[in-house]
C-alpha cells in the first residue's frame, strides 16, 4: 500500500506516507521527536521508549507505530516531557556515566537529549552497577558502564555488516550486552571498519585511537542541540552510517 495522508502533530498538519512510522513522518516534516534506540537505516527497536508520543490520547512509540489516517499526535506536552526526563534519568542511573571524562562527550546522543530536555542531575538514585570493560580487540573497545541497551550495535551488525557480533543476555535489570565469542571481543569477527562500531549512540563502543581527534567544543552537539538538524531540514541523524 502506498499513498499520502495527513496527520496532526502538536496542532500542525503534516503529510505522511502510508507505511512510514510516525518518527519517519515527523523527521520528514522537520518535527523532532527525541529518540535513542532508533537510527536511520536500521529496523526499529522500540526499546528506549524516549520517542513515546500520544496518538489520539494513547501513548505509542513513534519509532514503531505506523502512521494512519486521522491520527492526532502530541509530541511536546509537559506530561510527555516529564515522562521523557524520567526515562533519560533512568538510563543515566542504570549505568555509570561520567560525562566529564568520557571520550564521547559532545558526540553522545544520551547526553545531548538530556541537555535538550534541560536535565541537570538525575531524579533517581544512582545504582552504580559493576560492569566490565573489554579492550581485547585491537581496534575497538567496549565500556559496559556506558551501555544503554539500545540494541543499535546488535541490529547494525546483523543488518548492515551481515554478522552477528552482539546480543543481549540475561533479563530485567540484569540484562546486558555480550559478544558472539566464548570469552571476549577479540574472538569475534568484528572489524574496526564495521558499521556496528559507529552505531553506538553513547561511549560504550569506541574505535581505539580516535578518542579526541575532534576536540571538545567542536563536536556534534557542542554548539546546537540534538534535533536541530531535523528541525532545520538539513540532515537527519544518519551522520554515522
Amino acid at each position: 500500500m502506498s499513498g499520502k495522508i495527513t496527520l496532526i502533530i502538536d496542532g500542525q498538519e503534516i503529510e505522511a506516507e502510508i507505511g512510514q512510522t510516525i518518527l519517519d513522518a515527523a523527521d520528514a516534516a522537520g518535527v523532532y521527536i527525541p529518540r535513542l534506540c532508533a537510527m536511520k537505516g536500521l529496523s526499529p527497536h522500540g526499546s528506549c521508549r524516549v520517542c513515546t508520543v500520544h496518538v489520539n490520547g494513547r501513548p505509542q512509540a513513534a519509532c514503531t507505530q505506523p502512521v494512519a489516517p486521522g491520527m492526532s499526535i502530541e509530541n511536546e506536552t509537559p506530561e510527555l516531557k516529564a515522562h521523557r526526563v524520567s526515562v533519560i534519568d533512568m538510563l543515566f542511573v542504570e549505568g555509570n556515566h561520567y560525562c566529564m571524562f568520557c571520550e564521547k562527550s559532545g558526540n553522545c546522543e544520551l547526553q545531548a537529549v538530556a541537555y535538550r530536555l534541560g536535565i541537570l542531575a538525575p531524579q533517581h538514585d544512582y545504582m552504580f552497577p559493576c560492569r566490565g570493560v573489554d579492550a581485547s580487540h585491537p581496534e575497538v573497545f567496549i565500556d559496559g558502564n556506558r551501555c544503554i541497551l539500545c540494541g543499535r550495535c546488535v541490529r547494525a551488525s546483523q543488518e548492515l555488516d551481515n554478522k552477528n557480533v552482539f546480543q543481549f543476555v540475561g533479563r530485567g535489570i540484569h540484562k546486558r550486552l555480550t559478544f558472539n565469542a566464548p570469552n571476549n571481543l577479540s574472538q569475534t569477527d568484528l572489524a574496526g571498519i564495521d558499521k556496528a562500531v559507529d552505531s553506538c549512540p553513547v561511549g560504550a563502543i569506541l574505535r581505539k585511537g580516535t578518542a579526541f581527534s575532534v576536540p571538545i567544543g567542536q563536536r556534534l552537539y557542542d554548539n546546537e542541540p540534538i534535533g536541530s538538524e531535523i528541525e532545520s531540514g538539513r540532515r537527519t541523524n544518519d551522520r554515522q552510517v
Partner: protein, 605 residues
Amino acid sequence: MTEKQAEQIRKICQDYGGDKHRMMDIVREVHAQFGCVSRPAMGWIAEATSTHRVEVESVVSFYAFFSEKPQGRNVIRLCNDVIDRMFGADRVAQAFEEAFGIRVGETTPDGLVTLQYTPCIGMCDQPPAAIINDQIVTWLSTDAARHIAEVIKSGKKVFEAWQSVGDGNNAHPLVHAMVHNNIRKRGPVIFDAFTSGAALSKAVAVSPVEIIKVIKASRLRGRGGAGFPTGMKWEFTRGAPGAQKYIICNADEGEPGTFKDRAILTEMPDLLFEGMTVGGYAIGAKEGILYLRGEYTYLLNYLEDVLAKRRQANLLGQGILGVPNFDFDIRIQMGAGAYICGEETALISSCEGTRGDPKNRPPFPAQQGYLGFPTAVNNVETLCAAARIVDKGSTWFAAQGSAGSSGAKLLSISGDCKAPGIYELPFGISVNEMLAMVGGEDAAAVLVGGPSGQIISRAEFQRTICYDDLGTGGAVMVFGAHRDILAIAAEFMAFFEEESCGYCTTCRVGNTILKNRLQRIIDGKGQMGDLAYLEHTAHTIKALSRCGLGQTSPNPILSTLKNFRDEYEKRITAKDDGMQPAFDIAQALSKTEEIVGRKSTHRQA
C-alpha cells in the same frame, strides 16, 4: 567437556531436525542430561542448529530453569512468593539450608543438591510448596524439609519415598503427584462432565465461519486477563493472509495467585484439547501448540498420553472424524521459568526458540504470529469455554454471568481464608459474596487479578468481579488484618523486577527504582515527597512500557497508595532535626572506614 558429550549434544539437536526454532526443547534436553548448558555446549548447539553461539547463550541466560553453571543432581525450587511466605516458606527454607549446609542459591560441594527460590508455582492453595526435580511437594513443614533432605542424602528418589498422592487425576500413574485439586465449586461451563468428541462432532457438521458466529454470539471474552472477544480474534486470524495458521493455548499460568489452569489440565484435558481442535477448525489451522509452563512439567507425560488417545480416537490427526482435509494435531511446548512468556507475543518468541522478549505490535499475532503466520493465542479456560459453547449453544452460555461479561469464571483463591481453592462462579459476584463463600470475611485486603491487578480495601468489597469492574485472569489473594500490606507490595515489586524481560527502559530500570524507594519507606527512612515520587515514576512506567507487564507492574504501589495510604503515612515520621532520613551517613562511610582502618570523625565526636 569431551568429544563424547559433543556427540550426545549433536544427537539431541538432530532429534529436532537441527532446527533452531526448537531451541527451547534442545536446551531443555541438554540441561536435563548434563545439569547445565556449559559454554562449550552452547558452541556445539549453535553449530548443530546453524545459529550463533551468542543466540544460544541469550536463551540459556533468559530462563530461570536454565543454568550455565553446573547444578546439583537434585534441584529444589522453593516458592518464596507472598502466599508461601505467609505460610512459613522462610522456616522451610531455613530447614533445607541447615540440612544441606548451604544457602538458598547455592549447590552442595558434592553436587548433590541445588537450592533455589522461585516465584509462584501455582500451588498457592497448598503452601508452602516446592518443585523437586520436576515433582511437586506441597504443604511443606520444617519436618517435611528435614525428611526430604534425608531421603535425598540416602540416594533415594524423593518421590519414591513419598507415599501420598492427591485426589482425582493427581493419583493417575502418569501424574502421581501429591497435588490436590481443591475444586471447591463446580459450574456448568468448565467442571462438568464432558464426553470427548461432543463439541467436535457438532463443529464439523457446520462450516468454520458458522463456528466463529456461534462464539461471537456467546460474547465469550478471553479468560487470560486481557478479555479480548474470542470470536473476533478467531475471525481476524481466519481472515488474515497466510499459507498456514496456528492456534496456541496459553498454559503459562504465571500470574502469582493463579492456579485454575492447573486443575483444568489435570481434570479436563479433553475439554481443552477439544477447544483447541475446534479453534483450529474455525481458523483453518493444521497445528496447535500447548505452551505449558515449566513448573507444570509433572503433567507432561499425562497430557502426552491424552493426546495419544485422542489421535487413536481420530479426534486428532488426519481427516478428523472422517472429515476429508480436516487435519489437525497438537504439540506441547514446555516453558522454563519465565512469567513474561505468558504474554502472548513473548510466548510466541519462546515457541520460536528465542529469548522470551515480547514483540512490537503491529503486527498483531492474528496477522503475523508464530513463525510469521497468523496465530490465535488463547487461555486454557477460554478454549474450554469455547468447546462447551459449541456443544451447548451460545444462548445457553450467554444466559449466564452479567450483562457485559457472559458465562462463568474460574477463580483461584488463596491466602487468609478457610477454604482456598478453585471456584467456578458466574461473573458479577461481589467481593463480599466471594469472601463469605471461602470463609474470608475477616479480610482487610483482597488482591484481585494478581500483582498486576488491584489490592483493594474493605471500603471496596462491594465491587463485583467482571470485565467492567474488577477484571481478573483468576487470581484472588485474601489478606487478614495482621498482614503487612506494604511488605506484600514490596514483594510483588521484587517479582516484577525479576520477571521483566528488560527490553524497555521503563520496565527494566523503573521497577527496581520503585522497589528500592518503597523499601526505603518500609525501613523507616521515607519522606513525604517519596509518595509523589512513587506516583509519578509509576505513571511513567505504565504509560511508556511496551507490553502488559510494564503497563501493570506499578499496580501494587499505585493501588496501595490509593487504598492504604495511611500505611505509608504511618511509616514516614517527621524528624525534628531537619535531617534527611533517607541518607545514612554511618552506612555511607562504613566502607571507607574499613579501608582506612579507623572510625570516621563524626563517630569519634
